[in-house]
Symmetry: C2
Subunit: 445 residues, 2 copies
């Protein structure tokens, strides 16, 4: 299917697989394992894949199973993975013009793509700058809180602070606590900085770049459609997640039930923020009502902004298709938003990403269903979480048989590098077939 993929796009999956291989080897060292013995191959492979793909699904308890060295390896892996995917997505986008063609340019009145406005070096510099700034600020905030309010030694506080800061910014979702952030579920000052970092980083680099450009220079330039959709879509999904958790879990004795109003609001907000791609949890996912899980499917599947550390099909993909459907339902001849028409080839890319993702998740779910006895509701949660590199789980990951673990590994890898590789391949491969067949209109619906 992708026989005509050009070399640069092949590089990304190869680089990711190399990082996973090295990570697996490091995690198999006795040094990485807490106590005697060492991690078996599949456990190390799963953990390395989950880290490099910034997923955060775990088959063993991070702080209990892995030594401090092992945890540092995991930290480095998700930092490399997060930076790698952000840089790769952006650079590949630059290289391919992501669908930009001269012909299109001439044909349409206005066509602006982020990737036409930046050069490679300035991109890498800005990614690095943003990463270091946000992570350092967040690490500082968390460290201060852990030292002064939880009485941790400076060294311990700094380690936990740094780990969660890097994990948050890269949307990795790994934690040095066995119960993720449940222990902080009533701590505004710990959760709020994390939420801010997550929302910011999950916008994706093109949006961050545009925000930065407007803040420093060039105030008068109109917003790109990409940024407008991403910002508006993020706001919509944050509200949907917040309202769902708040309304459905309000009385659930195992989640929001025992909390006061402040705790209910804080935890609904945090869950909404983290569900879309990061995968921390301050509530017990396994105790959620089915309706919350169902909305969570959607939030995880959609994910965050393009060309960032967020997973899923991406917010713009979802809204491009939603706009098409909306325009169709209104009988309009073209799909448009904010006075801009959406390119037909972008519509097709969005459609392809969604349908291929659905097919892959369905296939993975089928395989896991057939080798386990877990109910569909949990298995589907696991496969969407893996594919969209979220890392939340209803709690079954650690009990899955090897075949199911392999399925999740494949889903994590394809979910992470697949969409970006395919999208770029599409853009690069485009335009070769210039045949024009006569049109026909089969009856649909």
């Amino acid at each position: 299917m992708l026989a005509n993929v050009n070399h640069p796009t092949r590089l990304v999956p190869i680089a990711f697989m190399a990082a996973i291989a090295i990570g697996t080897a490091l995690l198999m060292l006795p040094l990485s394992h807490e106590g005697p013995g060492y991690a078996p191959f599949l456990t190390a492979l799963f953990t390395a894949t989950s880290a490099v793909c910034v997923t955060g699904l775990i088959v063993v308890d991070t702080p209990v199973y892995w030594s401090t060295f092992g945890q540092v390896v995991i930290l480095v892996l998700f930092q490399i993975g997060g930076f790698g995917i952000m840089a790769a997505a952006t650079l590949l986008g630059l290289l391919a013009g992501r669908g930009f063609r001269l012909k299109d340019r001439l044909r349409t009145q206005v066509e602006r793509s982020f990737f036409e406005m930046v050069d490679a070096r300035s991109v890498l510099r800005l990614i690095l700058l943003v990463t270091v700034t946000v992570e350092a600020t967040l690490a500082l905030a968390l460290t201060l809180r852990l030292h002064f309010s939880y009485g941790q030694d400076w060294a311990v506080a700094a380690w936990h602070g740094l780990f969660h800061a890097v994990s948050a910014f890269n949307n990795a979702g790994f934690s040095t606590y066995s119960d993720s952030l449940i222990g902080f579920q009533n701590d505004w000052l710990f959760l709020m900085p994390i939420m801010l970092a997550i929302v910011f980083s999950s916008l994706g680099f093109p949006v961050i770049h545009e925000l930065q450009t407007r803040a420093t220079t060039d105030h008068g330039r109109p917003w790109t459609l990409h940024t407008k959709i991403t910002l508006l879509g993020t706001a919509i999904f944050l509200v949907v997640g917040f309202v769902t958790v708040l309304a459905v879990e309000w009385n659930n004795p195992d989640t929001l039930g025992p909390m006061g109003l402040g705790g209910k609001l804080l935890n609904s907000a945090f869950q909404s923020v983290t569900t879309r791609t990061t995968g921390f949890n301050a509530l017990d996912i396994g105790a959620f009502n089915d309706e919350t899980l169902a909305v969570t499917y959607l939030l995880m599947f959609v994910g965050g902004g393009s060309a960032g550390t967020a997973g899923g099909i991406k917010i713009t993909t979802f809204f491009v298709l939603a706009i098409v459907v909306w325009s169709e339902a209104r009988g309009e001849r073209e799909a448009a938003l904010f006075g801009r028409r959406i390119s037909t080839s972008i519509e097709r890319q969005a459609l392809s990403v969604v349908l291929l993702s659905l097919a892959l998740i369905s296939l993975g779910t089928m395989v896991i269903l057939s080798v386990t006895e877990y109910p569909l509701v949990d298995v589907l949660f696991e496969t969407i979480s893996a594919f969209a590199t979220v890392g939340l789980s209803t709690g079954i990951t650690g009990q899955l048989p090897p075949v199911a673990e392999l399925v999740l590994i494949v889903l994590m890898l394809i979910g992470r590098v697949g969409t970006i590789t395919i999208a770029t391949a599409l853009a690069l491969g485009r335009g070769r077939s210039a045949l024009h067949y006569p049109e026909e209109r089969p009856i649909v619906g």
Copy 2:
């Protein structure tokens, strides 16, 4: 959303609702109820909706709960419903040209739509002719079999034969037997004629019309893309269903397990044919493995051919989107099959039908999950079956609370008249918005 729906498209839902209202009233008569008393409102409403929408979901056991008069009412309702939907879809298609516009016509080299080649009277005549011919032939075959092999009186045999013939041709799925066709699971001579009638009728009227035209006159005309996709797609889905049931259920002690090779082959074939839209069952659906149920979801969701008695999103809708994805993945600039390009507006219609259907099924599933304790796997089966007017069930329909029954009623109605109404409304409303916005290309994936 559909405020701009033209009058003719409003007529279809109104006619269906009127038929359901009359059916409900008739079924509430004490005469319709077997034994003393009469059916409560919700039971009558559910049954009438299921019959008029040719769904076949039942909350009470047809032969036990309803008198012969009641069963005749049901028979008449699904005959009216089946004929009505076939005629309405075809006539509305004629009226709206289903997306046909002069501009398009001038722009493209070849554009052929079924709806441009026929006139209303000849359509109604042919629908009637095909209906009577197929139903009479099938009724005769079944009656003979029931009389000579099962020793039924001529009158009894004729009644059962007629009921199942009309039910099969209209893809209604109602049966005069409590266990549907499980009692005939080893009877080739009973199941084969039913299978043939189902496959034929579920092609949809435009395809049947084209087959008839080619058989009688006009042998040289090239096949329309619609017919090619429908025939090829039908074959593909029949094979997928057959292979899945055969492979997954081979050893299941409650389904194919105890059967010989002949029985296994016959019942896999029958299940594959009936699952796509009719809803008879000769096996116990509740005993199926989860993998079979998962494939069944897809088969039910896709359904049969457009503008016929089949339900679902329709085969062409599925394949139009599949072709778009396939073309994208190969880096081609346009989606084409059999040397014909697929119209962009048709792609958008197909996308809209699928996404709106998914949204509706998800919503219905959520509501039912929240008012019952049934597992997702069963509830999802029920909602897809209702929306795609299939009528299969894992066995929970009769135990659902009133709210869940209402959800299924709404799903059946929208699933039956919704897609056709929306598709026509789209086609009629099209072309008003002539604004051309500048194009923009948000990054997706």
